[in-house]
Symmetry: C2
Amino acid sequence: MTSQTLSDFARATSVTPTSESTFAADLDGSWKVAGAINGGYLLGVMGRALSETVPDLPDPLVISAYYLGPGDAGPAEVAVRTVRTGRSSATLGAELTQDGRPTMTALATYGSLGGLPGDVATSASPPDLPAPEDCMPMADGPREFLDAAPIVSQYDMRLDPATAGFAAGKPSGRGLLQGWIRLGDGADADPLALLAFLDAFPPVMFDLGRFGWSPTMELTAHVRALPAPGWIAVKVETRNIAGGMFEEDCELWDSTGRLVAQSRQLARQPRS
Amino acid sequence: MTSQTLSDFARATSVTPTSESTFAADLDGSWKVAGAINGGYLLGVMGRALSETVPDLPDPLVISAYYLGPGDAGPAEVAVRTVRTGRSSATLGAELTQDGRPTMTALATYGSLGGLPGDVATSASPPDLPAPEDCMPMADGPREFLDAAPIVSQYDMRLDPATAGFAAGKPSGRGLLQGWIRLGDGADADPLALLAFLDAFPPVMFDLGRFGWSPTMELTAHVRALPAPGWIAVKVETRNIAGGMFEEDCELWDSTGRLVAQSRQLARQPRS
């Protein structure tokens, strides 16, 4: 792939090896939300460093990220270690730091999604959604929302009107957001972009009328298949809100109706 | 707690410090299933070493374990490192090895479940289950099943007859198992026992007629509250079976109807 055809996402998450086990990254401030670099974007950066560490097993099968402090625009270092390598998968660890401050740490198992068996016996169903053109572009949101969340412009995100009540001050209270996502420049998603998509939608607490920042403590993502070109359907929900925390589950479905990625995160409830 | 009142589980998962950052454990062969030490029990051992590392923050809030090779009965070492410590939580890493062979590696955030805010706005509902005395004790299973799974005798596990069809050669095909669990000696569960409970039931693939071994690649557990005394209700399901792998979600509900723990694992489909 030449640099001309790199997606904005691939460029913004690119890493440069600085030793056998370290990479330099430059966190892009246009992927911020509420003053901090978005956790899904950070997962993309870390995911790329891991991918480049095991180029024959380039795809995340599962990655668990623990968020330690807010990321800021500017230089970052990703240190990678190999825990175990096998023929069809490798387990790795990684730390992302800025000026020596830990931002996130992760464990992951990588493999080759293209080389997996072809069986599909998934019993889950994709979300029932209006077509993207009948959903609400987040980029049409109020100016103050977009100013606080420049990341919105990096994606083309469309909210199902049935779960967009929060935008009109009428959250449903169900704890459910769904819609569509693709990269803002129209590039098709690869497995690393799926990692970012899993934490791109607004926090599901918005649908419960809780609009403050919901810092992610931990997010584990399963990437289950190479996504087909086109829009990705997104379903985000929470079912366990207690003790100052909540769990948030996200599913990503590709244009062929395949469940290509799932995540669950544990986050702190917003203060407001 | 005196040694007389230690539960069998506490005794079997006990660890002894051997340095500032290492613990010795003795893996108990009576927690085996299909020839390997059960992953939930291993999580209990690792969870205890982490708990003893940060005694003021003794409870797992979230732990992500990557399974690297089968555990065997006998000595093991748990090496722990502190990634970040705060006032109300600490993030740690750990490796469990036997004779230098890696068995599992994990990241975790610990805290104090007793010190969390008291809010509960959980929207999920506990599974609809007959009373424990109207469910099927797994310990009454066929001799060959019990011989292959000595762990069954370490717990009192009761299967909801509505999801026990597999035991009569009639799996439902839904990918759902539910029932009750408590420690075999009648001791009440603590947060470390919850970790073990999350991977104690038979693999959910049994309900799809797939009875081979389903090796766990990764399991992330959220422990959300101190469990009340008494039986714990268990719900295990899978919704995404594809590419030679499947995800398995487990929920644990205490006797007050509180969702006290959740896990999701990614596992390889059994060969048979």
